[in-house]
């Protein structure tokens, strides 16, 4: 009965959802590069406007998107503090013992922090609006040319989708085994770190045994259904570019043009 959201997919339907996953993968990459090449805060504001539009056009909401920053808070804070203290450039703002904060330092610190935040937010747009299966499909298709030089594009995407398929099953199984061992008096909650790690053995061994058994049976079932690797395989859903993909691409190209202009003008 466990509901696991992987890759934080947020089910919905809007312009962004209907885009081809390949378009979204490529454009996300383009936006990340855009964030990197921006030299101005106005440029960041442009990207942030885009994130805002995504948050509201999809009904995901900015609040939900900002939640995704939580695990990265430490890294962002650290980047901010290090830049603040180590960059020395321009007028002095604070001088307190060996601590010296300069105007240039503050600017770089804020700049780097904003850049990181925008990176996370833009890549989140991708994971929030693309189901894991569409993501694997898109990745496989994009990587397909690489399979000519021996890159296992199909195998990697098959592995990813099987992993996605079995995560809920194995979560459920973990819970069952946990209960069974608790009924035999196992204690998973108390004790020091070492004792707790040891207490996991009765949970992990059966879980691995079962995972191997499942893998074995699944392999057999796949073979019985004529599976023999990616060669000559077709797809139920052929990925297809539509008009909206061109619109999205054009929008990103326009953002690039504005960004380059902003950089050249050297606006704040």
């Amino acid at each position: 009965m466990m509901n696991v959201t992987i890759g934080q997919y947020f089910p919905g339907d809007s312009f962004l959802y209907r885009l081809d996953p390949r378009t979204k993968l490529i454009l996300t990459l383009a936006l990340i590069i855009l964030v990197f090449i921006s030299k101005t805060f106005t440029g960041f504001a442009l990207v942030f406007l885009f994130v805002l539009w995504c948050a509201f056009s999809t009904k995901i909401g900015l609040k939900y998107m900002l939640k995704g920053l939580k695990p990265l808070f430490l890294i962002i804070a650290l980047t901010f503090v290090l830049n603040l203290l180590l960059m020395k450039d321009g007028a002095e703002l604070v001088h307190w013992g060996i601590l010296r904060i300069t105007e240039g330092g503050l600017r770089t610190a804020v700049f780097m922090a904003v850049r990181l935040i925008l990176l996370v937010l833009t890549s989140q747009v991708l994971t929030l609006t693309t189901s894991p299966i569409a993501l694997t499909d898109g990745l496989e298709t994009l990587m397909r040319p690489l399979s000519r030089i021996g890159f296992p594009a199909h195998e990697i995407s098959m592995m990813m989708s099987i992993a996605l398929r079995f995560i809920p099953t194995l979560m459920e199984e973990t819970e069952k085994i946990r209960r069974a061992q608790m009924a035999r008096g196992a204690d998973f909650e108390s004790g020091n770190l070492l004792q707790r790690a040891k207490a996991m053995v009765p949970l992990l061994v059966p879980l691995f045994v079962s995972a191997f058994r499942r893998a074995d049976e699944l392999a057999m079932a796949m073979e019985a259904r004529c599976y023999r690797g990616g060669e000559g395989r077709t797809k139920l859903k052929q990925l297809q570019f539509h008009r909206q993909d061109a619109v999205a691409a054009a929008a990103v190209v326009a953002m690039y043009a504005i960004m380059i202009a902003l950089n050249a003008l050297g606006v704040f």
């Binding site: 989708s161 099987i162 079932a221 019985a224 259904r225 797809k235 859903k237």
Partner: protein
């Protein structure tokens, strides 16, 4: 009887690390459109036999012919296309995270064009009554529903034969009846030949023919009535017989001359009712 669709001649198989053959000289013909039940205790060789029919295993001696094709390494995929298989554990045979994607898996492997896959997947899902769940995640389905998806995946391949390897063993009675009923319908309406491997004699009694295996060999064979009337023998092979057959054996033992082959409650009530009159 028309030409057999499954033809086994002294078929045998031995696993590498085993000291005895798992299937030991089985000869058997299955007619097109037949519903054949295979019974046998655990380790009697029935699952190994099933795998020979699908070219998951290649016979180490003798021959297995599926729709005129001799099972061999080279023709494995042709055999699998003609003879689909549904396994025991509903969880471990579903590959995809979306029902319709799973149903399409076999067709994708065979390189069928997308449009044709779409058509056949929808048709198969409708057939098993799961079209409205086409976009659901399999992990949200019940065991019986998962087995329906597995059957749809096989049906989409349009096989001539489907082997069910204890496909109801892990289901509850409702799911069991449901999946068995579906197999019966596919057999009757689509003319698909069914090999139904099971422990449940209440399923086996509904088959056209029953084969009982033990130690890799066929021990008993015939209509359910013929096979199950050997009450003592069937029990000694680690199986069960219909309760009514046990009852008629008991009644005969006490001097009441009931026919031996009373299979169902209705038949027994009928027989006893006539006697009363």
């Amino acid at each position: 009887m028309s030409e057999a669709i499954l033809r086994l001649r002294d078929a045998a198989f031995q696993y590498e690390d085993a000291d005895a053959r798992a299937v030991d000289g089985v000869s058997l013909d299955v007619a097109p459109g037949e519903f054949l039940a295979i019974l046998g205790r655990n380790g009697s060789g029935k699952s190994t036999l099933a795998r020979l029919l699908n070219a998951l295993l290649i016979p180490s001696a003798g021959s297995v012919e599926v729709d005129g094709i001799e099972v061999s390494e080279q023709r494995a995929y042709d055999v699998r296309e003609r003879c689909g298989m549904v396994f025991q554990n509903p969880d471990n045979q579903i590959v995809a995270t979306v029902v319709e994607e799973d149903c399409a898996f076999g067709l994708e492997n065979r390189g069928v064009p997308s449009k044709e896959i779409r058509r056949r997947v929808d048709e198969a899902l409708r057939e098993v009554g799961m079209l409205d769940r086409a976009l659901a995640s399999p992990s949200m389905l019940s065991g019986g529903q998962k087995q329906r998806i597995a059957i749809a995946g096989v049906l989409a391949m349009r096989p001539k034969i489907i082997v069910f390897d204890e496909s109801t063993a892990m289901l509850d009675p409702v799911g069991r009846k449901d999946v068995f009923g579906l197999a019966r319908r596919v057999n009757r309406e689509e003319g698909v030949t069914v090999v139904w491997i099971t422990h449940f004699m209440e399923e086996a009694v509904q088959a056209d023919r029953v084969v009982v295996m033990d130690k890799g060999k066929i021990e008993l064979e015939g209509t359910p009535r013929e096979v199950f009337s050997n009450v003592t023998e069937v029990l000694s092979l680690g199986l069960d017989v219909p309760e009514m057959m046990k009852l008629s054996r008991d009644l005969r033992g006490a001097g009441l001359e009931i026919p031996l082959d009373v299979l169902t409650v209705d038949e027994m009530a009928e027989v006893l009712g006539k006697w009363q009159a």
